[in-house]
C-alpha cells in the first residue's frame, strides 16, 4: 500500500510540537560544525543555520526508509509508528547518518563562517539555541504548530540579545524574513542571507578559479526573496564564468526537493529535467540551497559535478582566518 501521507505529516507535526524540529536531531550533532571556530555565543549579530544543512543527511535516510516501506505491507504500520513516536523520539534511533555523510554539510557552514570573517563581519552563534525554523512544516500547511514554534524561536533570539540575523539557506531565510513577521507580533529582527552580506563586503578573491559553472538559482531565494544578482557578483569575483541555464534568475526551475519526502518519484523526475538544463550550458554546476544540492546531485550522478556556492567561494578565498577576528571586526548591517 502507498505510504499514508497523513501519518507522515502527523509525525513531522508531532515532532515539531513536542521536540522543536520535524526531525529532532541531537544538539551535539547540530552544533558540531562550529567546534573549534571560537564563535561567541549570541550577541547582536548571529549566524543562524536553522539546522537545515545539518538535517539533510537525516532527511535522506528518512526518504530512503520511506521508499523501502512504500508499496509493502509495512506501510500499514505508519499509524502505529506515529503513536510510538509521540512517546519516544524515534529520529535518533531510526536515523543514524555516518559521520562522513554529515561532514560535507557541516563543512558548508564552516566555509560560510570563514567567508564572513574574510569579509570582516563580526557574528556569534546560538549553539543549542540555534533552533529549526519550521520551514518544512510551514510548507505542509501545519500553520498552528508553526505559529507556536515561531514564538519559541524568536524568544531564543531575544534571550541571546540578537537584533540582526545572517541566514544560510533560502528556506530559513524566507521563513525568518517573510513568514515570521506574519506570525509574531512586533517581529523586529533584521534578516539577511549570507550571500547578501558577502556581496557587499567580501574582498576580491586571492585565488580566482577560472571555471565555467552552470548556476542553479533557488526558487525561494530568487522569487520569494529577490536574491538574484548577489550570487552572480560573488561568483564573478571568484573568477567563475556564470553560465545561465534556459530557466534562470526569477524564472528558475525547481530542483524537486520540496516534495522529496512525500513523493520521491516526482522529485526525481523534476530534478532530472533540471539537470539536463544545467548540463546543456556547462560541465559543472553550483547551487545555493541544501535541498537543491542533494536532490540535483542524486539526479546528476556522475554526469554533472555540483558544489554549494559556499564551497566555490571558499576555494577562491584561501587566506586563513582566526577566531579572534570576530571580536575585532565590524557588525553586519
Amino acid at each position: 500500500m502507498p505510504l499514508p501521507i497523513g501519518d507522515v505529516i502527523g509525525i513531522l507535526s508531532d515532532n515539531l510540537r513536542l521536540r522543536g524540529s520535524v526531525l529532532p536531531i541531537p544538539p551535539k550533532k547540530a552544533t558540531r560544525w562550529a567546534r573549534g571556530l571560537g564563535l561567541p555565543r549570541g550577541g547582536a549579530t548571529v549566524l543562524y543555520t536553522g539546522q537545515m544543512y545539518q538535517l539533510i543527511p537525516y532527511i535522506e535516510l528518512a526518504v530512503r526508509a520511506m521508499e523501502r516501506v512504500e508499496s509493502t505491507p509495512l506501510a500499514a504500520l505508519a499509524p502505529l509508528g506515529r503513536r510510538v513516536n509521540r512517546l519516544l523520539n524515534l529520529t535518533p534511533l531510526a536515523l543514524r547518518p555516518l559521520a562522513r555523510t554529515r561532514a560535507p554539510y557541516d563543512r558548508v557552514l564552516g566555509d560560510i563562517a570563514h567567508l564572513l570573517r574574510q569579509a570582516g563581519v563580526g557574528f556569534g552563534y546560538l549553539y543549542d539555541d540555534d533552533l529549526y525554523s519550521g520551514a518544512l512544516a510551514y510548507d505542509l500547511g501545519l500553520d498552528e504548530v508553526v505559529a507556536r514554534h515561531a514564538h519559541r524561536v524568536v524568544e531564543a533570539f531575544r534571550r541571546n540579545g540578537v537584533s540582526k540575523i545572517i541566514t544560510v539557506d533560502p528556506h530559513t531565510t524566507t521563513m525568518l524574513r517573510t513568514v515570521y513577521p506574519t506570525l509574531v507580533d512586533g517581529f523586529d529582527l533584521r534578516v539577511r542571507s549570507y550571500l547578501e552580506v558577502l556581496a557587499e563586503r567580501l574582498p576580491p578573491a586571492d585565488a580566482p578559479l577560472g571555471q565555467r559553472l552552470a548556476l542553479h538559482d533557488s526558487c525561494v531565494l530568487a522569487r520569494a526573496e529577490g536574491v538574484v544578482e548577489q550570487p552572480r557578483a560573488l561568483l564573478a569575483q571568484a573568477g567563475v564564468t556564470v553560465c545561465e541555464p534556459a530557466a534562470t534568475g526569477r524564472l528558475t526551475w525547481c530542483c524537486g526537493g520540496p516534495v522529496e519526502a512525500l513523493y520521491p518519484a516526482r522529485a526525481r523526475a523534476t530534478a532530472a529535467r533540471r539537470v539536463e538544463q544545467l548540463r546543456a550550458v556547462a560541465p559543472a554546476g553550483v547551487t545555493m540551497c541544501p535541498l537543491c544540492l542533494v536532490n540535483l546531485r542524486k539526479a546528476a550522478a556522475d554526469e554533472l559535478p555540483l558544489r554549494d556556492i559556499s564551497q566555490v567561494l571558499r576555494e577562491a578565498h584561501t587566506i586563513p582566518t582566526t577566531p579572534t577576528l570576530t571580536t575585532a571586526t565590524k557588525k553586519a548591517d
Binding site: 500547511g141 525547481c254 516534495v259 523534476t270
Partner: protein, 101 residues
C-alpha cells in the same frame, strides 16, 4: 462520485486575504509553466473550491501535496493570483478535514 456542493467551502479554506482564487481568469499560464506537471492543475483545484466541491477536492490529495510551492506559476500569473498561498491553504484544509491534524 456523487458531488455535494458546499457554498461555504472557500470560506472554510480561506486564510482570508490570501485565498485570491476569484481573481483567476483561467488563462492557463500556470498550467503551461508548472515544472511538476501536476495531474490536476492549480487552476482546476481552485475551480473546485469556488464550486464548493469539497469531496472532489479532498480526493485530490496527491496533487495538493505534490505542488513544489516553487512559485514559477505565480511569477507569471497575469492576474496576480497567490497560487502558492492557495496551495498551502488547501493543505491546511486537508490536514484538518482529511487527516485530523
Amino acid at each position: 462520485m456523487t458531488t455535494t456542493l458546499d457554498p461555504d467551502l472557500a470560506d472554510q479554506i480561506g486564510l482570508p486575504g490570501t485565498f485570491a482564487a476569484t481573481a483567476c481568469t483561467n488563462c492557463g499560464v500556470c498550467t503551461a509553466v508548472c515544472p511538476a506537471g501536476l495531474d490536476l492543475l492549480p487552476r482546476r483545484l481552485m475551480h473546485l473550491v469556488l464550486l464548493g466541491a469539497a469531496d472532489r477536492l479532498r480526493a485530490e490529495t496527491e496533487t495538493i501535496y505534490s505542488c513544489l510551492l516553487c512559485g514559477l506559476c505565480e511569477e507569471q500569473c497575469p492576474a496576480g493570483v497567490r497560487i502558492t498561498d492557495t496551495m498551502r491553504a488547501l493543505r491546511h484544509y486537508c490536514n484538518r478535514t482529511t487527516f485530523g491534524l
